[in-house]
Symmetry: C2
Subunit: 205 residues, 2 copies
Amino acid sequence: MKLFWSSRSPFVRKVMIFAHESGLADRIVPERTVVAPAKPNADVMRLNPLNKLPTLILDDGSALYDSRVIVEYLDTLHSGPRLIPKDGPERFSTLRLQALCDGILDFLLVGLSERARPEGQQSNELKSALAVKFKAGFDALEGEAGRLAKGEFGLGQIAVAAVTGYADFRYGSERWRDGRPKLAEFAASIADRPSIVTTAHVDTY
Amino acid sequence: MKLFWSSRSPFVRKVMIFAHESGLADRIVPERTVVAPAKPNADVMRLNPLNKLPTLILDDGSALYDSRVIVEYLDTLHSGPRLIPKDGPERFSTLRLQALCDGILDFLLVGLSERARPEGQQSNELKSALAVKFKAGFDALEGEAGRLAKGEFGLGQIAVAAVTGYADFRYGSERWRDGRPKLAEFAASIADRPSIVTTAHVDTY
């Protein structure tokens, strides 16, 4: 399988951590790809009209996206313990946590795009709202961190790792660890896992 | 169950069409709610730090979001035929189609927010890119429409209905039917379903 990939994308990172944890990483060939909300990439759009990473290209040439669909697909390809609970309350609390993490990543990316606009095109109202959501989002993760630290390392842990890693990469000045000791401890406890080390963000695409 | 709801949200509409099709609509109490990217709503954020609709509040007071998680949860609550294929290639083609539709809705919403900014804060580069994605996204749906028209009415059809309905509601001048006869025919063929009629967008929230 081929993956439209970038070391700067947190959703790509979620997929790659998942691939390493499920023993599938060596079946995925990453292809360095540049996409930007305002710059459609024709090669990506042929397979994914949303112009987004990650996009997984299967051996029959068809594509799967977005990251949620890809991780669920990957979970069917290996014979180890499932990283996504198959059903019941556990499944829905995991999926909700993934939705929370994906939503936080979405607004972190919106914040970056906003900061990249010419000064006069930036919206202070939007930036203030993003700051409110940053605080609320990370506070919610602090509330989940104790449970995550006790559970098996699965999709919930991976989704949170993608968020904290991206915040360190792009929002270091926000100091998310301040006042969130459990989340900080969880992030520290997973920092040496090979899946986390190998997939670290690098600011050259 | 209670649903943070608005008649203007396409993701709420997706959930409500799903609820009607699965016979669960009378178990959901919609609560009119206003959210905006730049205006956090404290009542929503207490349960969903992303400040987004739809958010489903279960009888035990816990919340489920986003729309994808909600529809999957709803599909476990009824005894009729599943609206989301349980596994296999059918599941992944349905989930990919939902991801495509959700992604189209995301950029339609981004386009609305962009148009709502003060003139000087708008980005022409972003608006051009959205136009390119609009065309590519709807062309991809045209490619799916024949298959959808033949299949049972399930999540894929519902997701597409949410997109075409929202385009009619907010992007009428784009005339998405032009050059896309199969998609136009599919939309016409479902227009009289009670789940579609009952959930139509109204521009008073």
